[in-house]
Symmetry: C2
Subunit: 153 residues, 2 copies
């Protein structure tokens, strides 16, 4: 909540300008409970009568991902979705379960998340590879779709 308060000075310190569009985009991500695609953010802002172009949304998201304020989730043949990432305290990786039938994205439980991140830590040391904050997606079938699928097929 009001995460923009943290990002604004960070942007400023790195020499980036605090534009209305950037603030609005961060605000949308901050308010959102689920993962947002670039286009969804665009629609949201247009609905609120803000002058934005889709190109700006993409550029801003790229910037925020680069600076680790936002995580990008790449999905196959579907637009990428984004979520805020708290660089100070958040875990390195955030694990999502994505159903290939209904495309629902759910977060993994927090205790499992801790275990995943411990393992990522080990991998970093072992491979001398610095893994950056990001979301990883595990694809499969959610309980509901598995049942439907078993009947339907």
């Amino acid at each position: 909540m009001e995460y923009i308060i943290n990002i604004r000075p960070a942007l400023y310190n790195k020499g980036y300008r605090i534009t209305g569009q950037r603030q609005q985009i961060i605000r949308i991500l901050d308010k959102a409970t689920d993962h947002q695609s670039a286009y969804k953010i665009y629609e949201e802002l247009r609905k609120m009568n803000h002058r934005v172009s889709i190109a700006t949304i993409y550029r801003t998201l790229d910037l925020l991902v680069e600076l680790n304020f936002v995580r990008r989730i790449d999905r196959h043949k579907q637009p990428s979705v984004y979520e805020l990432a708290d660089p100070g305290k958040g875990p390195t990786v955030k694990v999502h379960l994505i159903c290939r039938k209904c495309n629902q994205v759910q977060d993994i439980s927090s205790s499992l998340s801790v275990m995943f991140n411990d393992l990522v830590g080990k991998a970093q040391l072992y491979h001398e590879f610095s893994i950056e904050p990001q979301a990883i997606s595990l694809r499969g079938l959610c309980a509901k779709c598995r049942v439907e699928s078993a009947r339907g097929n």
Copy 2:
């Protein structure tokens, strides 16, 4: 090696036809030591004077991914790459480390891989979500690029 021997009857049993193109595509994946993009496979086959279109490559790869014979690695703003997956004995997830600077893809060590897969097994049970065989990518900086980056920046 000669993995096609296993896939051929499996395709046949499911009612898919054993076409020259499908066999050649599997053969390329089988011989490849690194991950292949659809276009690379296309070029390879054309070089060998085989009649194939890029559409067939994509259709075949989609089919093989669907049947879990092949894993797809989605990369941001770059073509997806593919690798053979042995459905019989292979682990559910294959973890790759992808450097965001040089784009090199390296496999995670096998012991860490086992640990990741154990964790994935736990996640499946806990969330009642059936995670399917797939590759997951951890993005970051490899040792070499980290050093260069530290100097260059």
